[in-house]
């Protein structure tokens, strides 16, 4: 099966004729580590859904003292039912505040609950939710989360509001959030509702939708919280946050290696995400011409992206250099498209020609950002793909497949792995493992750190090469079945399922060696977080990053169909504190 036909097999109807970028191009770490959010990223599609279905939010309870400590409940009514965010805000001393996985206390903890919780349920949650992993919840709860204050900005914003003025936009933008989450759990963790049950409930149906809705509600809570504390402090002078300040405040997050194995452990799901994204790209690239209003919209977004990237601040040397280069490239591209190469967008197949241009001249950051920008004017063409990104099925074995067919499948889909020399130590430099510290995924150096014998199953490239050697050794006959082989060699079961699945899910596999010395886990994190819709990646090492979520997004009370997609590549004008 060629890449093009394999990709098309996951598509339907007219999409079958589309020419998708091949997996060998897309599924490389360097490119995946350059992804940006798109229209079909989960936060984007969620806000569209909220606006389209006119979800309603009610602050059902707000029992917080003057310092902001206590309990709040937000009830949200959807067409299919209702759910509630239960928030517990607690006092936390500075020496207890840590984003690390070892933390046992947080400034605020949250549960997203199916329906509206009774007083009894809230009491039960109060006893468990603040403990997070050490507590236990029930199948009525869909999501569990916690967040810590960005202390400096939080206190500054409260102080400003209490004195009756608005905090400076540049102070807000420099940090970007009042709180940052350090975990957002779903899918049955610690007794939560299983994903299948959550989906069966009818409120949520897309990947991480309940989790990201929780984050959106946490943002609402943090904004209400600063206003509440300010009002309690200076009842006569305090003001509310101005709408532009509210929009500029998102939610921060520290994301580490815990996200990295997810992409490898869910190949069918990742194929869905990637093929939806690539189908969206291909639909735009296939357009024979661009209408004037689409060209204008694109150029306006391109100009906005230049400012957005200028506001993208990071201390990480690698990302800072990439961001600086991207800014230059975007300015050059904008100049080209409005001057020298102005006819590029007015001629035939403009988006294909534009992609050809940036592929020939630009960095991976530019290429991927351009694709994101190209999708923006075409909501009617791509937004439906957000509903094609779920895959609840587990991998199934084809037990009757012959070993010859299996070997051919490995050669077709893992040729990139068969060329790697795994006898050389750089190819097996790393091993991935689960730490005894709350079972957090970690990365160790195989030849200097203990624990390699307990490594988790991310050595896909190495195992593909090893199984291929076994099948090529002559020890087994080509016509024997996988079932017979596995009775005697059961250790290959996991990988054989994977290799069979790859025949149908060509975008399911990262086509790089995750054990290799040159593997940068930050690339995997960036890819996954871009699908979430995160922006302003701020790597703190090659193993974890801070991000901002929902920065620029309309708040719940102002969200509607007209602005649900207005916040892509947000830009915030720098002005000083607004004194009355």
């Amino acid at each position: 099966m060629t890449a093009a036909t394999a990709s098309a097999s996951a598509s339907t109807g007219e999409d079958a004729a589309l020419e998708l970028r091949p997996p060998d191009t897309v599924m490389r770490l360097a490119r995946m580590g350059s992804f940006h959010q798109t229209r079909i990223s989960f936060m984007r599609s969620l806000l569209r859904r909220i606006a389209q279905e006119d979800w309603r939010l009610t602050r059902a309870r707000f029992d917080l003292d003057g310092d902001g400590y206590g309990t709040a409940v937000y009830r949200i009514d959807l067409p299919a039912g209702c759910c509630s965010l239960v928030a517990f805000s607690d006092e936390l001393s500075p020496d207890e505040r840590t984003d690390r996985v070892i933390a046992e206390k947080w400034d605020a903890t949250f549960a997203l609950v199916d329906g509206e919780p009774s007083d009894e349920a809230i009491a039960r949650l109060r006893a468990n939710v603040p403990k997070q992993e050490a507590g236990h919840v029930s199948a009525r709860e869909l999501v569990l989360s916690r967040a810590n204050k960005s202390v400096r900005l939080f206190d500054h914003v409260v102080d400003c509001l209490a004195h009756g003025w608005q905090p400076a936009m540049d102070d807000i933008v420099r940090v970007g959030y009042l709180m940052r989450t350090t975990a957002v759990y779903g899918n049955g963790k610690f007794g939560l509702s299983d994903l299948e049950n959550t989906f069966a409930g009818g409120l949520f149906s897309r990947p991480f939708e309940a989790e990201l809705f929780t984050v959106y509600l946490i943002r609402e809570f943090t904004l209400d919280l600063v206003e509440h504390i300010a009002a309690a402090r200076k009842p006569d002078r305090a003001v509310r946050l101005a709408p532009d300040r509210r929009r500029a405040l998102g939610i921060g997050n520290s994301t580490g290696l815990g996200m990295a194995p997810f992409l490898t452990f869910h190949p069918a799901l990742i194929h869905r995400w990637m093929s939806a994204r690539e189908t969206a790209v291909a639909r735009v690239l296939a357009l024979a011409e661009a209408a004037p209003e689409k060209r204008s919209a694109f150029l306006a977004l391109l100009a906005r992206a230049i400012d957005h990237v200028r506001e993208w601040s990071t201390q990480d040397a690698r990302q800072a250099a990439r961001t600086a280069k991207l800014q230059d490239e975007l300015q050059g591209l904008h100049a080209d498209l409005t001057d020298g190469a102005a006819d590029l967008l007015t001629g035939p197949h403009p988006w294909r020609r534009l992609l050809d241009k940036v592929e020939a001249e630009g960095s991976l950051e530019l290429q991927e950002l351009t694709l994101s920008l190209m999708m923006e004017p075409y909501g009617e063409l791509v937004d439906d793909l957000a509903d094609r990104m779920t895959d609840p099925e587990r991998g199934r074995l084809d037990p009757a497949m012959t070993l010859a067919a299996l070997k051919s499948a490995i050669e077709r889909n893992y040729g990139w792995a068969l060329d790697i020399d795994f006898s050389a130590s750089p190819a097996q430099h790393f091993f991935w493992y689960r730490s005894a510290e709350k079972e957090e995924p970690r990365l160790g150096e195989r030849f200097t750190e203990p624990g390699a014998e307990l490594e988790t199953r991310l050595g896909v490239a190495r195992d593909a090469a090893a199984l291929h050697r076994v099948l090529s050794s002559g020890a087994w006959q080509d016509g024997e079945s996988v079932a017979a082989f596995l009775l005697c060699e059961p250790q290959w079961r996991h990988m054989i399922k994977r290799f069979q699945l790859a025949e149908m899910t060509p975008y399911g596999e990262i086509r790089d060696n995750l054990l290799g010395e040159d593997c940068l886990p930050i690339d995997i994190l960036r890819c996954k977080l871009s699908f979430f819709g995160a922006i302003k990646f701020d790597p703190k090492s090659d193993r974890w990053t801070r991000i901002t979520m929902y920065q620029g997004a309309p708040g719940f009370d102002e969200l509607d169909r007209g602005n649900a997609d207005s916040w892509a590549f947000p830009v915030f004008t720098e002005v000083g504190d607004l004194h009355p």
Binding site: V101, G191, L195, P399, S481, A484, K540
Partner: protein, 258 residues
């Protein structure tokens, strides 16, 4: 304590991995255990037992080579971990049917934890690897008194039948091993049911489905002793944190009060 099915599956997978089960069989055993528990069929005790009773679990999940293409071959599972190897036996049954175009047949002796055959059979029944369902008749006997049939229809509906005096509890009792006479086919009429007239319905598809729906909505209550055994095995997959790894995790080297 009430647990989600995902919690059950995760602890079982890690326990099987920690005990030394081959990669892939650990996930299938975990899926099987969670599936059975969700359907009110206690499974964790059998799994914990199979994961701990062998000095070399990996060896207890592996067969000597030869004869698996022979339809008359009797597979000896007497020294194997039945809860873990069950998916491989169902695979072989399906492969024989798929390759021959005739109903697949399989005879096994000394099989422990036979209910673990049910989840993979239901998987193939609901939607086989080729998106077409298979039907199964899995006849079990332990001596002359205890006889059961696990039936799975193409579509995935399962039911359990037993001889007149057989109580379903008997399915969890025999550690001596069961004889299995299994048939697999696409068409229901190819699943011949010779000598089935004396069997009564013990658990019908409707009751099983109702139990699964209840478990999904409300969670399940694993028995504490088995849960503790599985937790102890699961801990074996964890690597003690080193200072170096700690310093490179999320949030490290950043001010938490900024």
């Amino acid at each position: 304590m009430i647990r989600s099915l995902n919690e059950v599956q995760r602890i079982c997978q890690k326990a099987a991995e920690g005990a030394g089960a081959p990669a892939g069989l650990d996930t299938d055993a975990a899926h099987g255990a969670a599936w059975l528990l969700a359907h009110d069929l206690p499974s964790l005790s059998d799994l914990a037992e199979d994961l701990t009773r062998f000095a070399d679990l990996a060896a207890a999940c592996r067969f000597e080579r030869g004869g698996f293409g022979d339809r008359d071959q009797v597979v000896d599972a007497g020294d194997k971990a039945g809860a873990v190897i069950a998916p491989m036996l169902v695979d072989l049954l399906v492969a024989r049917a798929a390759l021959d175009g005739e109903p697949g047949r399989l005879r096994v002796e000394g099989l422990t934890a036979p209910l673990f055959l049910l989840p993979p059979a239901v998987g193939y029944g609901a939607q086989g690897y080729d998106d077409r369902g298979w039907g199964f008749r899995l006849s079990l006997a332990a001596g002359t008194e205890r006889r059961f049939t696990l039936r799975v229809a193409a579509g995935g509906q399962a039911e359990i039948l037993g001889t007149g005096g057989a109580d379903i509890a008997a399915l969890f009792e025999s550690r001596d091993g069961w004889s299995l006479d299994a048939v697999c086919a696409r068409a229901p009429d190819r699943l011949d049911s010779r000598n089935q007239t004396e069997f009564n319905l013990v658990l019908d598809a409707e009751r099983l489905a109702a139990a699964a729906a209840r478990s999904l909505a409300d969670g399940v209550s694993p028995d504490p002793e088995s849960w503790a055994r599985l937790q102890a095995l699961a801990a074996k997959v964890l690597v003690p944190a080193t200072e170096q790894s700690h310093l490179m995790g999320a949030g490290a080297l950043a001010s938490d009060n900024e």
